[in-house]
């Protein structure tokens, strides 16, 4: 495994009879950003909490740099929990300095880092204010600063973009890209799939405690089912029925959307279309991440 990678290796976790994680595995390499998607309750938060050592796994292992994650490594991870939380009555700078010290920094270094990050995240004016006096957006920035204060070697962020205004989304994206470019493995979960598609090098789709798809956005999109859009105005509604490997998704006024599986031959579909008369459009569309995600979480609903 390349240097500086975070590996989650077949971890399982049960709560009584409920299986939360079933041999979940994922790898984030140095300088890579991984988007972690899945419906609510799929096991994203549990996976992240186990990687952090906040929860213990029943089996499996979390490794960083080829060594099992221990206490020292953990203090080098930057974490943003889904449930945001800091001390509401503590002042911004004091709070960040305190968290820096808890991560093992010297007081002076923690102080410098707290000043640097408040500057960077445009919070300089609010350093002496209690957290609860800040707007929600600014509180989120402090939360990000709290995850970055100790110059983490790994970043694990649970829904970092939820509840952010567009400006804060840009700030957050920029900071995460910078961290990745400095070689830090970044993993974050999100429901905002367009954002994941735009930012992430790789995407992991999780369902019922298992990783069901994992790869670059390109890989995932090309491995998914192919869709054809055909515009043949004179074609009857059922022109494509019966073609091998072809599923008609919609058909309206000569506009037909077809879904092709591996056994289908698109050239044969084209010939069939031409037989009905003129064909004004014949295009292949690749699924967006949203489509892939919808497919992944709806397929085989009762497994």
């Amino acid at each position: 495994m390349p240097e500086g990678a975070l590996e989650i290796d077949r971890i399982s976790k049960r709560y009584g009879d409920v299986v939360a994680l079933d041999e979940m595995s994922l790898t984030v390499r140095s300088g890579e950003m991984l988007g972690f998607v899945g419906s609510n309750g799929a096991g994203k938060t549990t996976t992240m909490r186990i990687a952090l050592g906040v929860l213990a796994a029943d089996s499996g292992q979390v490794r960083y740099d080829d060594a099992p994650v221990d206490r020292m490594t953990r203090s080098r991870i930057g974490y943003m929990p889904e449930e945001r939380g800091l001390y509401p009555k503590m002042k911004v700078l004091e709070q960040l300095r305190y968290l820096g010290e808890l991560h093992g920094m010297e007081r002076a270094a923690a102080d410098r880092a707290a000043n640097w990050w408040t500057e960077r995240l445009e919070l300089s004016e609010r350093r002496g204010d209690q957290l609860q006096k800040l707007s929600l957006g600014n509180q989120q920035r402090v939360q990000l600063a709290a995850a970055l204060i100790h110059d983490p070697a790994v970043l694990i962020l649970d829904e970092p973009f939820s509840g952010l205004d567009p400006v804060a989304v840009e700030v957050m994206s920029t900071v995460l890209r910078e961290m990745r470019d400095r070689g830090v493995p970044v993993v974050f979960s999100s429901h905002q799939l367009e954002l994941v598609q735009r930012l992430c090098d790789r995407v992991g789709i999780v369902r019922r405690g298992r990783m069901i798809a994992d790869g670059t956005v390109e890989e995932l999109r090309s491995s998914g089912p192919v869709r054809l859009n055909v515009h043949a105005p004179e074609a009857p509604a059922d022109w494509a029925e019966g073609l091998p490997g072809v599923n008609v998704e919609s058909s309206e006024n000569g506009h037909t959307t077809l879904r092709l599986d591996d056994t289908a031959d698109d050239q044969r579909v084209l010939r069939a279309a031409l037989e009905t008369g003129p064909v004004h459009e014949f295009s292949r569309t690749r699924p967006s991440l949203t489509d892939l995600f919808r497919d992944a979480v709806t397929e085989e609903p009762d497994e």
Binding site: V54, Y79, P81, E83, Y87, L102
Partner: protein, 418 residues
Amino acid sequence: MKRTLHTVWLVARRELQTRVRTRAFVLGTLLMALLVLAFPVVMLFAGASNAPEDDLSASDSTTRLGITPSANGLAESLERKAGVDRPAISIRKVADTEMGKNLVHEGELDGVVAGTPTAPELFVEQHVFPHLERALTTITYNNQLDAEMSDAGLDPQAVRDRAGQGEVAIISMGQSQDAADGPMAGISDAEKAQRLIIAMISTFLLYMFLIMTGQMIAQGVVEEKSSRVVEVLLATIRSTELMAGKIVGIGITGLIQFAVIGVLGFAAATATAVLTLPTFTVAGLLGWAVLWFLLGFTLYATMLAAASSLVSRQEDLQSVITPVIMMLIVPFFVGVSVLPNNPDGTAGTVLSMVPGFSPMLMPMRVALGGVPLWQGALSVVLSLVASAAVLWLGGRIYSNAVLRTGARVRLKDALRAS
């Protein structure tokens, strides 16, 4: 290990700083200090108003006495006595017995002495003056004795000088005497009364501080849970470090307040002479109180931290901490109701060594005096053992429950593995 201690200290320091800096803490300490300072002064005035009834209590009020010409021979002796005894006596000559009685009626005088130096009569208005009676009896006795000696041809002064040369050798037999006569033997009534007051006050202070710091612990734990900051913290430090740091930090906060108020109170009581016990004894009692504050605090704080970690909202807090608070209230009331009457009874002796009861009962017994060393040591050891068990169990409950937000976590689930 070093890292752990450092982390615990960081958490403790934050607790200390955020609490000591609050207005509530500063004002609360000031208010309690004022109360403690005012207490001896109030006691002083309370003592003064009761003085004529009881010559044991200090009083500056003067007994005004009239004296008739026939009894004038007593004046000098009475005035001499007045310099020694308290309350002081002021003497005023009156023309005759009738005039003196009138002045007593009018309240100008407290009493009038008539008759002769060997057979005086004291006229008073209902009021009894034990010190005056004693003084007159002694003077009359001496006068009578002098008169008899003169009649027998002896020089009273010479006889008295010779009589004064006899000496009594007093040899202390050490502690064996105490053991034979019970632990309270050799302690005067006045000291007993003072020890009782100290015992009551220090037990009450202890109780108050344990309740107060316990509330701080409970609220602090839930605050971290309800604000969800606990997950950020636990991503870098262990839950046991967080719990320990919280307990240490709030313990120091309480101890500072406790020490300030304890020292101020004893200093004020000593300065106003309400308290006349030797400084050494007082310092010892304070030391015991501080020790028991620490022992009791460790025990209760751990239980409260564990109990509080079961809930996520301040509103649910009361239901889980009430059972723990009851474990503090019951010993306190047992302490103040049973012990002062019978500090060395079987029930008091046994309970004062039972963990949970000992933080309230043992310091009170120690203040009352006469606790054998082995009993004090045993109760400390038992309390430490209980604290260790509670720390282990409480740490487990805390670790398992502190991340589960939402509904109240059942104790059974919290005790099971995470």
